[in-house]
Point group: C2
Chain length 427, copies 2
C-alpha cells in the first residue's frame, strides 16, 4: 500500500491538457474514486490534492463527490513549475522549511472528519536534475511538517484514497519514444485498465475484486505465519512478521466506520513485518522512483531488522539519504504479496509510480507501519504497536522484490514451512 502521494502534496506537477484522455472512462474513474476509493459519506468534507495537470479528473471527482452528498470539496493544486522555481531561485538556507500551516490545517480537518483523496500524476522525474542535498532537505522538512496529517492517514482515522491521472509529463517518461498525444492515450488506457474501468459496471467489478483479495487475506490470517522466507535471484530474505499482525488488502474499514479502498488500483495483500526480525539480503526487481530520482538495482543486507549495507548502481546517494531520514527508515514497515500474473505486471509497463508498480510485484516498504495491519490495531497506542514489532518513521517507501522466479514460504509458530508463492504465483 502506498501513501507516498499523500505525504507530499506540495511537490506535484504540471499544467492541464485535454490530451487524448477518454472523457467517458475519466468520468468512470472519478465515480470509482468517490464511491469505491473513498466511499464518501453524506455531509463529509473532502480535501483533494492533485497536480494542476490533473484538473480534468479533479473536476469530475468534485461532481461525483457532491452528488454523493459531500459537504465541501477543497482542492489543493500544485504546480511543477512553481516547485522547480524554488530549486532554481531560492536561497540555499530556505530548503529546511515547509508549509506547516497548510499541513496542520489538513490534520485539523481530518480530525474533524474530512476525507482525503490524492490524485497522483506528477512527473516522477520532476526533481531528478536538482541538487540532491536540497531535495533531501525539502523532503525531510515536508515529511516532518506533514506528520500530524500523515498520522491520521497511517492510523486510518478517516477514509482516504489515492488514484491517478495520466498527465503528459508522466506519459512522456513512460513512453519516451511515442509522440505526446499517443503517449498520453497509451498511459490513459493503462491507468483505466488497471483501475478496472473497462467492464460495463466498474463499481460491481471492484466488489468482486475486493472479495477475491479478502479470500487471500483470510487464508494468510488463518496460518498466522511467524515469518516469510523470500528466495529469488539475488534474494534470500527472511521477513519476521509483527506479533498480532493482520493481513489486509482491497477494501478496509477506517476508524470512522467507513469502508474504503485506499489505493485505486490495488492488487496486493499486505501486513506489518517485525521491525527487529528481518535477516538476509534482497535485490530490487524494479527501479524505485523516489521523490523525483530513479534509484536502480538496489541491493540491501538486513541484520536484526536493520539495513547494514545498501547499494544501488544509480541514485545511491538518494537511497543513502532516504534510509538516513531517521532510525526507522532503515527498518521494514510493510510486506506485500502480488502474483506475477497481476494485470499491472502483465501490462509490462514500468509506471515509475508506486501506486502502479507496487501492484506488479511482491514488495517491502521501509519506514512507517500501518496500525490497521494489526488485529485491533486501530485502537492500539503507538507504544503497543512498537512492542509488537511495528516500525515508526517519517518515511514509507515501497520497493519491488518479486518477479517470475520468486518463491515464498510461510514459517509457522512450530517452525514448519508452508508454500505461499512458487515461481511468482500463489502456491
Amino acid at each position: 500500500m502506498t501513501d507516498s502521494d499523500a505525504s507530499h502534496p506540495s511537490t506535484f506537477a504540471g499544467l492541464a491538457e485535454p490530451g487524448r484522455v477518454d472523457p467517458v472512462r475519466l468520468d468512470r474513474l472519478a465515480e470509482v474514486a468517490v464511491k469505491v476509493g473513498l466511499n464518501i459519506q453524506p455531509g463529509q468534507d473532502l480535501i483533494l490534492t492533485a497536480p494542476v495537470a490533473a484538473l480534468p479528473l479533479v473536476r469530475r471527482v468534485a461532481v461525483h463527490a457532491y452528488r454523493a452528498g459531500a459537504g465541501l470539496v477543497t482542492p489543493i493544486l500544485s504546480d511543477e513549475q512553481v516547485v522547480l522555481a524554488r530549486y532554481s531561485e531560492a536561497r540555499p538556507e530556505s530548503f529546511d522549511h515547509a508549509a506547516g500551516w497548510l499541513f496542520s490545517g489538513m490534520a485539523a480537518a481530518f480530525g474533524e472528519g474530512a476525507a482525503r483523496m490524492a490524485i497522483a500524476g506528477d512527473n516522477p522525474m520532476m526533481l531528478s536534475g536538482q541538487d540532491s542535498e536540497a531535495v533531501a532537505r525539502a523532503n525531510k522538512a515536508n515529511s516532518h511538517a506533514y506528520r500530524p496529517a500523515m498520522e491520521r492517514i497511517t492510523g486510518f482515522d478517516i477514509n482516504w484514497s489515492i488514484c491517478a491521472y495520466p498527465t503528459a509529463a508522466w506519459a512522456r517518461l513512460v513512453f519516451p519514444d511515442l509522440p505526446e498525444p499517443e503517449a498520453v492515450a497509451r498511459l490513459a488506457n493503462a491507468v483505466f485498465r488497471a483501475s478496472r474501468l473497462d467492464g460495463p459496471d466498474p463499481v460491481a467489478a471492484w466488489a468482486e475484486h475486493n472479495a477475491n483479495l479478502m479470500a487471500r487475506r483470510r487464508w494468510l490470517n488463518g496460518h498466522d505465519f511467524q515469518a516469510l522466507h523470500f528466495r529469488g535471484p539475488g534474494t534470500d530474505l527472511t521477513v519476521g512478521l509483527a506479533e498480532g499482525h493482520e493481513w489486509m488488502g482491497g477494501a478496509s474499514t477506517a476508524k470512522n466506520g467507513v469502508t474504503c479502498n485506499p489505493n485505486i488500483p490495488t492488487e496486493e495483500v499486505f501486513t506489518t513485518p517485525h521491525a527487529l526480525r528481518c535477516e538476509g539480503y534482497v535485490r530490487a526487481t524494479k527501479p524505485l522512483s523516489y521523490m523525483g530520482t530513479l534509484i536502480e538495482n538496489i541491493e540491501v543486507q538486513f541484520s536484526q531488522g536493520v539495513i547494514v549495507e545498501a547499494k544501488a548502481t544509480k541514485g545511491e546517494a538518494v537511497l543513502q539519504k532516504m534510509i538516513s531520514s531517521d532510525e526507522g527508515a532503515r527498518r521494514l514497515g510493510e510486506v506485500a504479496l502480488v502474483p506475477h500474473s497481476s494485470p499491472i505486471s502483465q501490462s509490462g509497463i514500468l509506471f515509475y509510480n508506486t501506486l502502479f508498480d507496487e501492484n506488479a510485484a511482491c514488495h517491502i516498504a521501509l519506514g512507517q507501519c500501518y496500525a490497521k495491519c494489526f488485529r485491533g490495531g486501530t485502537s492500539m497506542g503507538a507504544e503497543e504497536i512498537r512492542q509488537r514489532g511495528g516500525n515508526s518513521s517519517i518515511i514509507h517507501v515501497d520497493w519491488m522484490i518479486g518477479g517470475p522466479e520468486t518463491d515464498i514460504d510461510g514459517i509457522t509458530a512450530s517452525g514448519g514451512r508452508v508454500p505461499v508463492f512458487r515461481g511468482g504465483e500463489w502456491a
Copy 2:
C-alpha cells in the same frame, strides 16, 4: 482600496490559457507585484491565492519572489468548474459551510510573518446564474471562516498585495463582441497599462506615482476635514470622517515594518469615514460586480450613518442580502478620491473588477474599515477604533459614486468649506 479578492480565495475561477498575453510585460507585472506590491523580505514566506487560469503569472511571481529571497511560496489555486460543481450538485444544507481549516492555517501563517498576494482574474459573473440564496449563504460562511486571516490584512499586520491576470473568462465579459484571443490581448494591454508597466523602468515609475499620491495625502491630512460633501447627479451626500482619520494611498507601511503597495494598480487616496455620521443620498455611477452578480443603478439613502433605503434596477436582492450580512454592512468603512482623468477612467473600460473600477472614480465602501487609516491606527485596539467612528463588519464592498460632474467640498472643524473636487478633478 480593495481586499475583496483576498477574502474569498475559494471562489476563483478558470483554466490556464497562454492566450495572447505578452510574456515580457507579464514578467514585468510579476516583478512589480513582488518588488513594489509586496516588497517581499528575505526569508519571508508567501501565500499566493489565484485562479488556476492565472497560472502563467503565478509561475513568474514564484520566480521573482524566490529571486528576492522569499522563504517558501505556497500557491493556493482555485478552479471555477469545481466551484460551479458545488452549486449544481451539492446538498442545499451544505452551503453554510466553509474551509475553515484552510483559512485558520492562513491566519496562523500570517501570524508567523508570511506575506500575502492575491491574483484576481476570475470570471466576475461566475456565480450570476446560481441560486442567490445559496451564493449568499456560502459567501457569509466564507467571510466568517476567513475573518481571522482577514483581520491580519485589514489590521495591516503584514505586507500584502493584489494584482490581476487577464484570464479568458474575464476578457470575454469585458469585450463580449471580440473573438476570445483579441479580447484577451485587449484586456492584457489594459491591465498592463493600468499597472504602469509600459515605460522602460516600471519599478521607478511606481516610485514616482507613489510620490504623487503622497502629496495628495499630505494636503488632505493637513486640512483634517470633519466631513466631505459630495454633489452630483442623484447624489447629495455628506460623509463624516472618523476622529483622527488619516488619508492613505499608494505605498504604505505594515506593522511588520515593510512598505508595500496593497493594490496594483492604484490611483486613489482614501480614509475612514465615521460610521455614525453619513447623511443624504447617493447614486452609484458604475455597476457593482459582487460575488458573481452585477448590481446596477444602486441608489441609497443614509441617515445617522446607516442605510435606511437601498434600491437597484438589477441585482437588488443580492444588494439587500449584502447589506444584511451584519450590523456594520449598512455603514461606511471607506471613502476614496480618484480624479475622473485617472488612466483607468480614461480607458473607458468597465472591468467588472473592483481592483480596476475603483480606480476610475471616487467611491465609498460598506463594511469593515482599515485600521491603518487612523493616525497611529495600527497600534489601536478594536474598541478605540470603534469609539473614533471606525466601522466593523464581515464585508468590505467598494462602489463607485464619482464621475465627470462630481463636486466635493471639505468641511473644516469651524464649518468652513474648502473645494476638493470640481467637475470630477482635484480643485
